[in-house]
């Protein structure tokens, strides 16, 4: 550790630093910067902290170290809004830090893209898309949907069912109506008899 003298000049404990250097050489100390993995900008998820409330106190758009907000692991900075964050990820500072961390350019970045590269990518994407569509179709059982004969068959069955149900319902209705009529007649007859017996023939007027 360094010690500060009253004069303001610092002296160094050489032994301690030598020890640290020895350990690092043997790989005992983790060079922790290298162990961190870079996230490509395309996989950013701005909504992962959605509905979490955090208090942002000042106008400062970035802070050193890990804090609430969007954190850049390479540069150890935290940004308060995603636009500033993504600006930073695209910035020179970040780019050079990244190169420093990952070792020098592997040359792939500077390569000019040829037609072959484009074609390869195209074939790869086509294949991926095909697989995706196939999987989707299987999982949702939509494979049947494109079999026309099967669909016609299914439709026929459905329609037959509907017709049967309609007929049945109509029949039920008729029967119900009949029953109702019968009981109405019976009721009416009964009522008249009772009323006659009680000497009442109608409401509204007592005159005869």
């Amino acid at each position: 550790m360094a010690e500060k003298l009253t004069f303001g000049r610092r002296t160094w404990d050489r032994e301690e630093y030598a020890e640290l250097a020895r350990k690092r050489k043997q790989g005992l100390l983790p060079t922790d910067v290298n162990s961190k993995k870079l996230k490509p900008t395309t996989s950013l998820d701005f909504t992962k902290d959605l509905n979490k409330l955090t208090v942002i106190t000042s106008q400062v758009t970035r802070t050193r170290g890990k804090a609430f907000g969007f954190y850049c692991e390479v540069c150890d900075l935290t940004y308060k809004d995603n636009l500033k964050y993504v600006d930073h990820l695209n910035s020179k500072v970040h780019f050079y830090k990244l190169q420093e961390r990952d070792g020098k350019d592997d040359g792939s970045a500077n390569k000019t893209i040829t037609l072959e590269d484009v074609k390869k990518r195209y074939d790869m994407l086509c294949l991926k898309l095909d697989q995706l569509q196939e999987k989707e179709m299987q999982s949702s059982g939509k494979a049947d949907e494109f079999d026309v004969l099967k669909r016609i068959e299914q439709k026929k069955i459905e329609e037959q069912d509907k017709r049967d149900q309609g007929i049945r319902r109509a029949k039920e209705k008729e029967e119900k109506k009949k029953l109702q009529d019968d009981s109405d007649k019976l009721n009416n007859g009964l009522d008249e008899n009772v009323m006659e017996m009680m000497g009442i023939t109608g409401f509204g007027s007592t005159k005869k």
């Binding site: 395309t42 993504v86 040829t114 037609l115 195209y122």
Partner: protein, 168 residues
């Protein structure tokens, strides 16, 4: 990250006939695209090959919403102009048949940068449907209609199409 992409807002490193390729897009369009989150998040580090990833996701042709937010279509177009790919790559974009919006991107590029009506004309026989956003409305159009407009009209989705010699 390619060296061909210039940090900040400088122009592209590539030229066509001595004109910096970025000048093929009007300044106002460039600025609005560069300011958008879609550009910053997805387009910034694309190259000619990875551009396909984004182009296959396109669902609609359009430049800017009423709010000023750019559509991915115009962002990718600006990216193409910035990258200024080899002509054979643009021709590959145009002649592939799987992704129709990529084809339209290529056609628009051929119209704006190469001003090659012959290259575009060949695709008057493609009748596939396309979605387009224009004058604040979502509309239906077809590839051949777009090709016709690229050949005969002066404006397309708010972009000015400069003079092109027509044969016949």
């Amino acid at each position: 990250m390619s060296r061909n992409i210039v940090f900040d807002r400088e122009l592209s490193r590539k030229t066509h006939n001595g004109v910096n390729s970025m000048l093929y897009v009007e300044k106002i369009v460039r600025e609005r695209v560069f300011d958008s989150i879609y550009w910053k998040q997805f387009c910034f580090s694309l190259n000619e090959a990875t551009l396909l990833d984004k182009a296959m996701e396109l669902q609609i042709i359009g430049s800017f919403e009423i709010s000023g937010r750019p559509f991915p279509f115009i962002c990718l177009f600006v990216k193409m102009v910035q990258l200024a790919p080899e002509r054979e790559i643009i021709e590959f974009y145009i002649n592939q048949d799987r992704f129709k919006y990529l084809k339209v991107l290529g056609l628009l590029y051929a119209r704006v940068v190469y001003k090659d009506s012959e290259l575009i004309q060949e695709h008057l026989v493609d009748y596939r449907k396309l979605r387009i956003y224009e004058d604040g409305e979502y509309k239906l159009t077809y590839v051949d209609e777009v090709v016709d407009r690229l050949i005969n009209e002066e404006f397309f989705i708010g972009l000015t199409l400069t003079y092109m010699a027509k044969d016949g």
